[in-house]
């Protein structure tokens, strides 16, 4: 009988009727989340930090030894690793710049009324919804010198995009631009739609040029959200693995994430790979911090 009565109450009143306080209810939601976070995020993070100071190799039965900063020293003095970082930096610059230009350009085009705008916007968003490995294999076929449409359309003959050490990295970056420009477009569209229309109307009355309106009104007001897109995409591009791994094995396109994978799961150099993961993490944090500082300055203006 009591349960029938409780069934008519809303959840909060039901909880109250059972004698649960707000604190109990809050804890019921927060505690599992905290446990999950500690077990699956914080603990492995600390554990792997510990491993980074050892010579632990997951495929050896001998006990590991504490080696201090040796792994970090060796990694930072390894030419191969620096070459991987330089390749990654090039990739991040080309890929993120491409995404920002294409994504923001598309957003400017879509920020007006035209027939089937909703459908076209949805279609443009499709690439970022696909699996990165599938996108990599798909673009591998597109780039094929034998039957790929890219060479045919641009009249490039037998040009081997992915086998050529000079073009492999850029071929992967182009694929990343195709996949993630829609993300930038989406954020930019949100920013553009938030710009007050009366500013454009005032500019039109003053007969301001398109360029003047764009540089003095649109860009300053959209830049905070563009910076957020830039932060997300830089972090992601820095960690790119799947697209590059499936598309090419060119050493000139070996991003730091691929080197990390090889070190950890092909060579089983666990201690050193943990150290490399921390170096990458610190670099990503440093770059993100710079962006965030700049973002705060932009917001203060």
């Amino acid at each position: 009988m009591a349960s029938v009565a409780l069934a008519h109450l809303d959840p909060a009143s039901r909880a109250a009727a059972r004698g649960w306080s707000d604190l109990t209810i809050r804890n019921m939601f927060i505690v599992p989340t905290l446990v999950f976070l500690i077990v699956f995020n914080i603990f492995p993070l600390i554990y792997s930090l510990g491993y980074s100071f050892t010579n632990f190799a997951a495929n050896r039965s001998e006990p590991w030894q504490f080696v201090g900063l040796q792994n970090y020293r060796e990694l930072l003095s390894d030419d191969h690793i620096w070459s991987n970082f330089i390749i990654t930096a090039k990739y991040v610059i080309v890929s993120v710049a491409g995404q920002m230009i294409v994504g923001f350009g598309l957003a400017l085009l879509l920020n007006r009324s035209f027939p089937m705008k909703g459908l076209i916007t949805t279609l443009l968003l499709l690439p970022m919804m696909m699996s990165a490995a599938v996108v990599g294999l798909f673009w591998q076929l597109l780039y094929s010198p034998s039957w790929g449409p890219i060479n045919y359309v641009f009249g490039l003959g037998d040009f081997a995009w992915l086998s050529n050490p000079d073009s492999a990295l850029y071929a992967v970056a182009i694929t990343d631009v195709w996949m993630w420009s829609p993300f930038v477009m989406l954020l930019s569209l949100a920013g553009l739609s938030a710009v007050p229309q009366h500013l454009y109307e005032a500019a039109a009355i003053d007969r301001a040029s398109w360029w003047y309106t764009f540089t003095r009104i649109t860009l300053p007001l959209v830049s905070p959200i563009l910076l957020i897109a830039l932060i997300f995409r830089t972090m992601e591009a820095f960690k790119t693995f799947d697209i590059a791994y499936t598309m090419t094995t060119q050493p000139t396109a070996e991003l730091i994430a691929i080197r990390l994978y090889k070190q950890a799961f092909q060579q089983w150099d666990t201690g050193k790979s943990c150290a490399l993961a921390y170096i990458v993490l610190i670099m990503v944090l440093a770059i993100t911090n710079l962006y965030v500082k700049y973002l705060n300055k932009v917001k203060e203006r």
């Binding site: 997951a58 495929n59 050896r60 039965s61 191969h80 780039y143 094929s144 010198p145 034998s146 037998d158 081997a160 995009w161 992915l162 086998s163 050529n164 050490p165 090419t248 094995t249 060119q250 050493p251 000139t252 090889k262 799961f265 092909q266 060579q267 089983w268 150099d269």
Partner: protein, 438 residues
């Protein structure tokens, strides 16, 4: 009374018989291997073992690119998911020294497998360290690099005449790398979408390394002294550099974009009518003689790896031995399975199903050599094979080789000598790091 006693005895007998049967059926063995045709043949073979003993044997497979990672992840976790593994030859060092494989030396000696299996298969699939007399696997699937070619192109009178006019000798199956290069150049006609040769170029694991090795070994080079870990002057010898130069030369005559290719693409080069000759492991040749998978099956021929300039003839070893995983809970049962597997009749059945037996007796038999168009070439090759380093740090060593030779072969950067000098330096540093120089 007599009836009662008879019934009771019969009942007990039946119960015991059923009990035994149930217990046998409860026993299961799992063999882990890569996903390819020989694994299917093995599953077919072990079904006989199940029929004989009641022990269910499952051959569990995973795609080749994941094979090493998945196997070692399980080993490292000391997992008992697999009772046996058909592991790559270069895993022997890691598998034995890191405690993943059961020592099979006593088993090996007891069954005199040294006299039963082909010498190269014992040396490379079973023994570690080399020459130590310690054995960790039973040779299961023999394999090596061989070649397929378009017989109809080679036998076309017009082509033969044109070839003779251009090169001054008859167009035939190449017996030297120099001839192979000439034939590749001769048939390389990009305007007709015909290309000279298909070789391995994928450097994500051991594909390209195996292709390059075949050339280096035949040119009189070596990858190092596997007993002393000496690399200076061996890995980067003039002979090794000449072999690598030849591999780079062959790359010029491959189909366009041939920069990340392994067994699938090299078979497609023949089935798609793209190339005159194609390198591949023998185990991947069955689809080439099957009309359902190769429209040119009747016109496809096979030959063993050609010789270098001094007549030396070697080929890179593929194939695998079967090892008992030391974390298995069914080690005794796995040992019984191996006893069954090495029997002559089992080896013969294994060869009949399409597996590449390592049994000398079966290999030498005419029945085996005439069973397929490529078995004779396989037999020839199995007595001239050499392998990559099987040292525990082979993965690091393999990656270093890939990093140095790939830019030269596919990217055209630097010279063969520079690529091998760098490799020798990297390997020396790696072996020093792992205290290999005593």
């Amino acid at each position: 009374m007599r009836k009662i006693v008879t019934s009771v005895v019969a009942g007990i007998g039946l119960a015991l018989a059923c009990g035994t049967s149930v217990r046998a059926q409860d026993k299961e063995l799992t063999i882990f291997w890569a996903e390819w045709d020989p694994a299917n043949y093995l599953q077919e073979l072990v079904n006989d073992y199940t029929a004989e003993t009641g022990v269910k044997v499952t051959v569990q497979t995973t795609p080749w690119p994941d094979f090493q990672t998945k196997a070692f992840t399980e080993f490292n976790a000391h997992g008992d998911a697999y009772d046996m593994v058909v592991g790559d030859s270069q895993w022997l060092g890691a598998g034995s020294t890191q405690g993943h494989y059961v020592d099979l030396t006593d088993f090996f000696n007891q069954h005199k497998l040294g006299d039963v299996m082909a010498p190269a298969t014992i040396k490379y699939y079973a023994e570690y360290p080399g020459g130590s007399g310690k054995y960790w696997a039973i040779p299961l699937e023999g394999d090596a690099i061989g070649w397929s070619y378009r017989k109809d192109w080679f036998e076309d009178p017009k082509e033969k005449e044109a070839f003779k006019a251009k090169y001054g000798y008859d167009l035939a199956v190449p017996t030297t790398y120099a001839q192979l290069r000439d034939i590749a150049e001769f048939f390389h006609r990009p305007d007709q979408k015909r290309y000279g040769v298909a070789i391995y170029t994928d450097n994500s694991y051991d594909a390209m390394a195996m292709g390059v090795e075949s050339a280096i070994f035949s040119y009189g080079g070596d990858l190092g002294d596997y007993a002393t870990y000496k690399v200076d002057g061996i890995t980067n010898s003039k002979e090794a550099a000449a072999g690598l130069d030849m591999y780079k030369e062959l790359y010029k005559f491959t189909p366009p974009g041939w920069g990340k290719t392994f067994f699938v693409e090299d078979n497609q080069a023949i089935t798609g009518g793209l190339a005159a000759m194609s390198m591949n492991f023998f185990a991947f040749f069955p689809p080439l003689v099957n009309k359902a998978t190769n429209p040119y099956a009747d016109a496809t021929g096979f030959f063993a790896n050609p010789a270098g300039p001094d007549g030396k003839r070697f080929a890179a070893l593929g194939g695998q031995g079967i090892s008992i995983v030391s974390y298995s809970k069914n080690k005794d049962e796995a040992m019984k399975f191996l006893e069954w597997f090495i029997k002559d009749e089992t080896q013969k059945k294994w060869a009949d199903l399409g597996g590449y037996t390592c049994s000398q007796a079966v290999l030498k038999s005419e029945a085996f050599q005439n069973a397929t168009p490529y078995n004779k070439a396989f037999y020839d090759t199995m007595f001239m094979v050499k392998d990559f380093w099987a040292t525990p740090e082979y993965a690091e060593v393999l990656d270093q080789l890939n990093q140095n030779i790939y830019p030269f072969v596919v990217g055209g950067k630097g010279t063969a000598q520079e690529a091998l000098d760098k490799t020798a330096a990297d390997w020396k540093a790696t072996f020093t790091k792992y205290n290999r120089y005593k």
